[in-house]
């Protein structure tokens, strides 16, 4: 920056005589803008515009096949006193918090295990990724059969073992249904957390562990004072993504339960689809989708401000 500043006055004398377009074309400050333009256009066209349109739509009564008129907060007012909407908010939070916490715990544990030296290391690491690679809809259909009210393999096995006498009502009972979709989500999400944390673990220098071992640190102390602090930035990123993915999950729930039984597994995303696309109330669907934004912003803000702090970055208290 300073070099530009110092060279400017000398050039300015000539520059003023050239046409505006030439000046803009060659001016270094403007040049940066030109280079950023394609990326900015891409972001605006494919991210900002649809988002803006969605938010605008939530203030209209737009339906499929016809544009709406501005109705202010009407959609939100209806949602505010809509028990199904609040149930979906509760379900989404429950789903996100429980699934993310368990995914983190299992993922971290797996990462630590995989970080050890063991035979067939590469192969085992590849196998762990499988749930993440299988298309969500395929794994959802597999789970749908596993949870089937009549043909569940789990119920069948337990009955044959004599442990239960009748099929477990996996997707027909509200508590079971919630647990079942959360389990399926965990199964699918753990590899992402595990592999990313493993990548983080591998950046930790072995010399730190050697030094700690020489000082007589226990396994726990090495984890607590070396691994964990050095891993925090990665954890923050991974968990942000994990929470975002879980919060916005749609496919698993839609394929398994369609939000049933009695809306016990309706997430905000599935409810938004049902109201917006299936019943054609685009405005209302958009309002539900827009209502997800504050939650997502909060999740991002927590990790964003967290990552700015030294304590998170370095594990020390000197911030």
């Amino acid at each position: 920056m300073t070099t530009i500043q110092t060279s400017m006055p000398a050039r300015a004398v000539h520059a003023d005589t050239r046409p505006l377009w030439d000046r803009l074309r060659t001016n270094r400050n403007w040049l940066a803008l030109w280079f950023m333009l394609p990326a900015a256009a891409f972001l605006i066209l494919f991210l900002a515009y649809p988002l803006g349109l969605g938010i605008w739509m939530s203030f209209t009564d737009e339906r499929i096949g016809r544009t709406g008129v501005f109705v202010g907060l009407e959609n939100y007012e209806w949602l505010w006193s809509d028990s199904i909407f609040w149930l979906s908010v509760f379900n989404t939070l429950l789903y996100t918090i429980i699934a993310s916490a368990i995914k983190f715990a299992i993922g971290l544990y797996l990462a630590l295990l995989l970080n050890r030296h063991m035979p067939f290391k590469a192969m085992i690491r590849a196998i762990v990724l499988i749930p993440f690679i299988v298309p969500t809809v395929l794994s959802a259909i597999a789970f749908w059969w596993i949870y089937d009210a009549q043909f569940s393999i789990i119920s069948w096995s337990l009955i044959k073992l004599g442990l239960i006498t009748q099929n477990i009502n996996f997707l027909g009972d509200t508590d079971w249904a919630r647990a079942s979709v959360i389990f399926a989500n965990i199964w699918r999400g753990v590899p992402f957390v595990a592999i990313t944390l493993l990548a983080g673990l591998q950046t930790v220098s072995p010399s730190l562990y050697e030094a700690a071992t020489l000082d007589g640190a226990t396994d726990w102390q090495r984890f607590r004072y070396i691994t964990y602090p050095l891993l925090t930035p990665i954890i923050a990123v991974v968990m942000t993504f994990s929470v975002l993915f879980t919060f916005t999950d749609f496919q698993l729930v839609w394929a398994l339960t369609r939000g049933g039984p009695v809306n016990a597994t309706h997430l905000m995303a599935t409810l938004s689809y049902q109201r917006g696309i299936l019943s054609g109330r685009l405005g209302e669907g958009a309002a539900i989708a827009t209502a997800m934004i504050p939650f997502l912003l909060a999740a991002i803000a927590i990790s964003w401000f967290g990552m700015q702090r030294r304590k998170w970055q370095q594990g020390s208290d000197n911030d």
């Binding site: 499929i64 016809r66 009210a149 009502n169 027909g172 809306n263 299936l278 054609g280 109330r281």
Partner: protein, 440 residues
Amino acid sequence: MIDFKTDRRSLLKGGATLMAAAATMSSDQLLGYAKAWAQTAQWKPEAGAKINLLRWKRFVEAEDVAFMKVVDAFQKATGVTINVSNEAYDDIQPKASVAANTGQGLDMVWGLYSLPFLFPNKCTDMTDVADYLAKKCGGWAESGKAYGMLGNKWIGIPVAATGGLVNYRVAAAEKAGHKTFPKDLGGFLDLVKGMNKNGTPAGMALGHASGDANGWLHWALWAHGGNLIDKDNKVVINSPETAKALEYVKQLYENFVPGTASWNDSNNNKAFLAGQLHLTVNGISIYVAAKKENPAIAEDMNHAHLPPGVDGKTRELHLGFPILVYNFTKYPQACKAFTAFLLDPAQFNPWVEAAQGYLSPFLLDYEKNPIWTADPKNTPYRDVAQTANTPAGVGKMGENAAAAIADFVVVDMFANYATGREDVKTAMASAERNAKRIFR
């Protein structure tokens, strides 16, 4: 999805008339007929017309084969290209809606329920086609008019419906003390209770199953005199009649096989064919599949209409299959000509026969087709148009009623009470509120 091929056995079972009818026209004859038809038809397809048609994915393979034969003959006779794509039941509506919203991609859709009513101002006026067909094929059933007309205008042509009727195992029903199928609500409840006691339970979907759950739960509501909306489309769900319907369904639910609250449209087919379910409400597809895969079940099962309501009238909600033409298509004449051709007796009769009862007509002449009497087990499906109501019930079919059914307002109300999540008052109040949100 059930794959079914017409093999020799099922054809023989269907009776000689069926065989004769299915073989009435070779493809050459069909082409000859199509050419002659196109000469005289009042709709002249645009030159070089190319139509993108979306339809639901078949449940009965022979039906699809027959449909494609009609498409083929029409293409050859008129020079129109028809591009047929298939989508599963659940995906038809989102795709059709997106096409309606963006104004491109599709020219016509053969969809489900009240699809044209979701976006009536995007549908071509089909009144001329409907009038032509009415004149030629014995007129429309009242329910056909309700399914096709918005005001005085036809916005879609109700090609057929698949009936949501009772499928039951005869032996199990007899064991529960019902030699003939019950004719009233009390008898039906008694049958379901008896079957449960004998370990041969019934089961009907209470989950978000757009076809099955909406079908029988609307019957239960209407049978007790309840309605979501009155004739002026005012929300009247919160009523003593609805409360009675809720109590009735709860008693049924308590005697169902476990898990019905999670069922979608395919669960009951699977369970019935596996011999674990002995009574349900469904189209004829279970029977069609059983004839092929499990003759013992086909032999022991039968069909019946749901019992009439407290006023003695039977009102059922069947799965209608309307065809619509978008008003942004470049080839409206070609689309209309194809729709009229499809429902022409020479095409429609063999097609209905190939569908083996899966397509119940709204045009009265087609009730005389031999398929309905060749096998007495098919007969109840003939009368589907007579008992059919639109999702609006006594109200006027329109965008709002179409939205209410897609949003499972009635299904959720019954499921909320039957599963014990809400009491009668709360269940009705939440349904009322939800309906008011839609009918505001």
